[in-house]
Structures are given as C-alpha cells and as structure tokens.
Subunit: 243 residues, 2 copies
Amino acid sequence: MVKYSDYISVDCVIFGFDFEKLNVLLVDRTLSDAKGNELFTDMTLTGNHIYEGETIQAAADRILFDLTGLKNIYLEQFRTFAHPDRLNKENDRKWLLHDNRDPDKRIVSIGYFALLSTQKVTLEWKGRNVKWVPVDEVGELAFDHNLILSEALKAMRSTILHEPIGFELLPTKFTLSQLQKVYEIILDTGFDKRNFRKKVSRMSYLMPLDEKQKGVAHKPARLYMFSREVYENTKKEILNFIV
Amino acid sequence: MVKYSDYISVDCVIFGFDFEKLNVLLVDRTLSDAKGNELFTDMTLTGNHIYEGETIQAAADRILFDLTGLKNIYLEQFRTFAHPDRLNKENDRKWLLHDNRDPDKRIVSIGYFALLSTQKVTLEWKGRNVKWVPVDEVGELAFDHNLILSEALKAMRSTILHEPIGFELLPTKFTLSQLQKVYEIILDTGFDKRNFRKKVSRMSYLMPLDEKQKGVAHKPARLYMFSREVYENTKKEILNFIV
DNA sequence: AATACTTTGTGTTGTTTTTACACTTTCATT
DNA sequence: AATGAAAGTGTAAAAACAACACAAAGTATT
C-alpha cells in the first residue's frame, strides 16, 4: 500500500445534473461497534487522502475516477479548509478513533468541485455506497462538509456566471432547452426562451450539429456541442456570459 | 514560543497601489555560512507558519499586521499550493536545512492576496526587510513564489471584474480619476473618462463627499468614499461591474 | 497681476444590447 | 384524424455602450 500524507486531504464536491435538479454525490458513513451494532450512520462528501508524492490535482482526479469511472471531467479547486476544530463533532471523533487516527490533529482539506451529467455515471461502479442527493435536500453532513458544500455552491455559481461551464453538466450532445434549464436551476431564476437563444447564438463555441433528438413525443430539438477548442481561441472577445 | 504546525503555511501576496503601478510586497532572503559569508540572496513573498490552534484566516491577518501594522484590510483566499516538489530548488533546500527543517517534507501553502494603498503603510514598521516591487519588475523568486504571484494576479484580476474591490487599493478618500487609474493599471487597458464616470455614477455605494483635493496645482477633484455597507445591501441588483 | 499649466468635470449622438412578448411547426400518442 | 408537448422564430421599445471636445478651477511662474 502506498503511504499517504496524513495531514492533507482532498474533498471533491461532485455536482451532477439530471435535467431536473442539481445533485451532489454523497457517501454513506456507518460506524459499528465490535459486535456489529450500528453506532451511527450519516453522510459525507467524497474525499480522500493524498499519497506521498502525488499532486493534489492528481488526487482529485483519482477520487473522481474511483467513484465514477470517468476521466477528464471538469474540476476546479475552490477553497481550502483548515479550521482547527473542523473534525471535532462527536461522531467525527469516534469515526477517526475507530480509523486509528488522532482526532486532535488538524487536517487540511483542499476543496474541489466537479461538474458532470448524472447520465454519464453508473453508480454501481466498484459497488461504492454513494448516491446522488439534490443539493436542496442535503441534511446534516459529517465533519465540516455542510460548509464545504455551501462554499462549493457559491464558487460554482460564481464561475458559471463568468465562464462557460454549464455544458459540463450536460451530456456531450444537448439541446438548447436543456442548456437553458441548467442555468435556470443553478442560478435559481428564469430566462425568456427567445432571448436566451439570441444570447447563446452569439457564442461561436456552441456548435450546432446536424442531428436531432429521437423518440420524444414532440417536435425533436436540434442537438448542440460545446467546443472547448473554439472557446480557448475566442475567449478574449467575450466579456459577459449569461446574465 | 507558540508551537506551530510544520506542514501548513500561509503565503500572502500583498498588492499595493501607489497611483502609478501595482506593486507586491517582497521579503529579502539572505543565507550566510558560519563565517558570515553571504551564500545567496533572493526574495520571497510574505508567508509564515500557522500556529497550533490558529485559523488560517487569523494567520493571514497576523502576517499582514506584522508586516504593515494594519488591520481590517482586504484579504481573499485564492488557491492552495501543495506540489510535492514546490520547495525543491537548490537554494530552497539549503535554506530549509539551515532552518533545521526537512526539505523533503511537503508543505501545504494556502495562498491569500491582500489589497491596500502603499500610502497606508510605513515599511519601517518593526524594521522588516521588505520592499515594494512593481509586479512587472519582479524577478525570479524563491520556492514556487513566481507561480503563486501569477495565480494571485489572475485571481485578483478576475475578482476586480466582478466585485468592487478597486477601492481597496486606494486611500479611504479618493478621486474618480484615481479610481479609473486603478482599473486601467490592473486590467492593462484604458477607459474614456466620461463613460467611466457615467458607469460608476450608477453605483450607489460610491459616496461623494463634500470635500476636495487640496494643494494640487490644478482644479481640485471631488473626493469619494466606498461604502461596503451600502454595497452589501444593494449587490443583488448589480450584475456587471467594470467592463 | 497676468499668463501658463494641469487636471477636473460635463452632454450628445449613433450603435449595440437587453427586455418583453405570441404563434406556428413537428413529432409521438391516442 | 385529433391531441398534446416542446421546438423554433421576430419585432419594437428601453437601456447601455462607445466615441468624441471644451470650459472651469486651481497652482506656479513671470
């Protein structure tokens, strides 16, 4: 087994959009005593240690791959959490002791958020006990994970206003209505359909395909793709994004 | 002496504006051998350890106060640096060994940037060997501090586009021309004076004072102040900032 | 006292962007 | 053949943006 730094960890706030709601991937945490009786059960964000010699970016990618089986998904470092009491709740101390760790040792956690479409993920991957929870239905989490989640949301909302990352929450091919829905859900607002289309039609990196939705009980919508390449070449011209 | 965590540190990128250029506060680092011969000299950003039990925000405030004698200045956490080789340059290893530290131990550094007017600071404070260097004249720095500086600049430019932090680089009372200059220097662009004034006149949190410049060899300009209080109450309405 | 110098402070016009708003088309289902 | 459901499209009024020049108010110089 590879040795890891026991004072640095990475927490990934993995956001998944399912065309209806914004969800976050949470892990079940259950602690049982020696006889197998359940002491408590609650949930955490997805996090892990960093191995010796591993960069934090690589650690975040690894965590993401372990949980979703996906590579090359959008990942952004947004904030680091190092409050000396951040692991100090009663259940957290029990959990750490059970894991032979010193609950009084400060652990620095570097926060990343990831964006993907829930469609892309098979949660049965490696049989992890993880599940999607709508962000507005998340209850009390372990450690300081409610704080980390709310900071991740804040950072993500700020980024989505200024950079084209809405696409990351959709399948590779998507319709304009789906894109509009992404922004409406995340920014908790509504847009006029015609004005929204007028706006995004100015974005040269939003590429219309010669392809339509299939099997829908209404006029099938045209599909689009996001071209990061075109975006990188034109972003100097673009000042305001959505809103 | 208070014990500190030897694996976490805070680096503060302290930006100071002097009405002409954007500067960063750097510290001289000189290593001498036992006989007093100078082995090398170079510069670092301002950073320090975090004491046991101290929050990182408090550590950043402390570093800032130690160097400038100022409290309540604008401070923003922008990124964390934890590459396993970040302290691995030859001079850095010598420096760490001289300081009885293990150069192979990874140190996580949490990056903050601070904004202030150079006018507010007396560098003779506590006789520190620090100085202002224009950001476009900074040479090779110790550790990974060139990377940290450039990431701080990127983050600061991004924030200043979306949040009213330009004021933080000026004295409490300032003129509109000084404010315009801040944005011109930092964004490396020019604005039309009338259009700039039209834009900022819409910001209710920019408060005109019944006071004018004194002792200038030309028509004295009206002074203004930034009201964070008004801003906090009105920011929901504000969508685009400068540019 | 007059003049030169420097920076402040102000308005209009044409262009672009934003906002508000409704109906027809296309497909699957019954 | 009719129904239901979302796609797709244009216009007009309001707001914001970009480009542009000159008189006013003070200090310094003579």
